[in-house]
Symmetry: C2
Subunit: 327 residues, 2 copies
């Protein structure tokens, strides 16, 4: 066993290599980073904090935690149409997170930096007597004045959703062993989606000029649709039978129909919800093919201020809860 590294040794060994792509990070050796966005671009900034036992499970692999923390932030950038640029990272670690833990955590960071093409620029590492807490600020770049926002939807437009819904929320149940009757492959698929969200960066970039409003679905479709409706000052009707489900979620709901409410209200989807004019339908369908990703038209914007989740007969569902409170 090697002697444990001190704080500065840990930063130099595990984190400084992650900052090599960012000259302004100054090798993580200065009081901060020095950053300049390229001409013509502005910065999209997002910050998310994750707490062990609240946003992830005690015992989740450090490599997955690192990637989840980056990905919940990447998803926010995706919803703004930005591309990742740099991030600053803090974590409070209990003593049990030793050098091996940090090494695996840094591996996870490196994997996603490579996949999404961005660099570490700075941060902080502290000790804690409590649970693991991680926090990342991600700075993305978006063409000046072009960032997607939640405010631009117009009555008469279509409401679209990327990917499939409910995998994150049912994935949490699966990771906790909540689906003993479900096919093992499906259990694994759901748990993997909970542990490792798929931020829709490529889609977000392509939605600039197509979508009139966009956000990522992280607190549940019902609650997040209400935020988009409020921000744009209109109502949304959602045809729930048109919402795409993965095979695993479809099978789980077939076994227990009550789970469909959790599909609609559970969090951790990290899909993009967006509005677009009706005349963009064919362009969006071509985009779905090009990106090889489901883009489903799940409803429409109309005058008013409510969000209605409609069943196959067009009647509003009444939900026991509208939002998933995990923070």
């Amino acid at each position: 066993m090697a002697a444990p590294l001190g704080e500065f040794g840990r930063i130099a060994r595990f984190l400084a290599p992650l900052a090599e792509g960012c000259p302004g990070a100054l090798g993580l050796k200065d009081d901060g980073a020095v950053l300049s966005p390229p001409d013509g671009w502005e910065i999209a900034a997002t910050k998310d904090m994750l707490v062990e036992g609240v946003h992830f499970l005690p015992g989740d692999a450090p490599r997955d935690l690192a990637r989840k923390m980056l990905r919940v932030n990447l998803s926010d950038l995706a919803s703004m149409g930005a591309r990742p640029w740099v991030y600053l990272l803090s974590f409070a670690l209990p003593k049990r997170c030793d050098d091996d833990w940090l090494s695996a955590f840094a591996d996870g960071l490196a994997m996603d930096q490579q996949e999404f093409a961005f660099s570490l620029a700075g941060g902080d590492s502290v000790s804690t007597p409590g649970p693991i807490v991680m926090d990342a600020v991600l700075l993305g770049l978006v063409e000046q004045g072009r960032a997607l926002r939640r405010t631009g939807a117009q009555a008469g437009e279509d409401l679209w959703l990327s990917g499939t819904l409910g995998d994150g929320a049912l994935g949490l149940l699966a990771a906790q062993g909540g689906f003993p009757t479900l096919d093992y492959v499906h259990q694994e698929a759901l748990a993997a989606r909970y542990r490792l969200p798929r931020p829709r960066i490529a889609l977000g970039r392509r939605l600039i000029g197509l979508a009139t409003a966009a956000m990522d679905v992280s607190d549940g479709l019902a609650a997040d649709a209400a935020k988009l409706a409020a921000a744009s000052g209109l109502a949304l009707d959602i045809d729930t039978p048109t919402i795409p489900l993965s095979d695993a979620v479809a099978e789980a709901v077939a076994q227990d129909a009550e789970l469909f409410e959790r599909v609609l209200t559970g969090g951790d989807d990290y899909e993009l919800l967006f509005t677009a004019p009706v005349e963009k339908r064919s362009e969006i369908k071509m985009l779905a093919q090009e990106l090889d990703m489901p883009l489903a038209r799940i409803g429409r914007a109309l005058a008013g201020d409510s969000v209605r989740l409609l069943d196959k007969d067009g009647a509003p569902l009444s939900l026991a809860r509208t939002g998933w409170v995990h923070g």
Copy 2:
């Protein structure tokens, strides 16, 4: 008693007003903030995480915590010569931090936003089963290419320190009741300095063009001087009798000479340590008068790679510990 506000109610009530000075914050209602530095300026970015029981005392007033969190970051900006611009804020709060707690916390943020002229741009609020954890990313602005760094010191230059040393470290002891024999006014003064650092923003701005290297002293003079020496690739000799002490620290050290080691190695000073060419001495002395702040010449840079703390006879002190580990 009013009913407690939910997460979104708390953000709208207590935090959204703090973002009114930042149009790019989008009212804290979108997925992130959209930010553009003015032409000719670049961004200095710093991130610090504070944990209850590690970086502040359980029971410290929420108004003070808010300001301390901003100020440890402001101090990093000061050391880079940047002026504050915007910040993103996250906190993980246990249930006991109710709406009154958050209201007082927001008051503290507002006080320092006004004092240092910057705005909230975004962040995250989550719950935790553990201690309070706060994290801020502060973005400052500095003229393109002019940021102060740790790397520019040259052999033969003077080493300077702002303010007085040891108030933070002895202030922690005072706040814990460790100085029963010390004059009550001095105890209070020390505890106040621990709870509320004074970031040297105005000084940092004026050091651009004067200082060749700069950093803030947060982990103790001995450890931080070693970082500056390593970054600039030289040695530093510090004449410890020339280090300015406040009346309170001088009195505490007079009562117990062993405390002087803690003055040299304790953290939480948040003063600026910088190097400058010998020919800048009179200019720096005039600056001290203008800013009404002690700027003391405490040593010099020379070839080599060590930091020596010298006593009144020029003999090196040997310390039991060189750095204050609080994180």
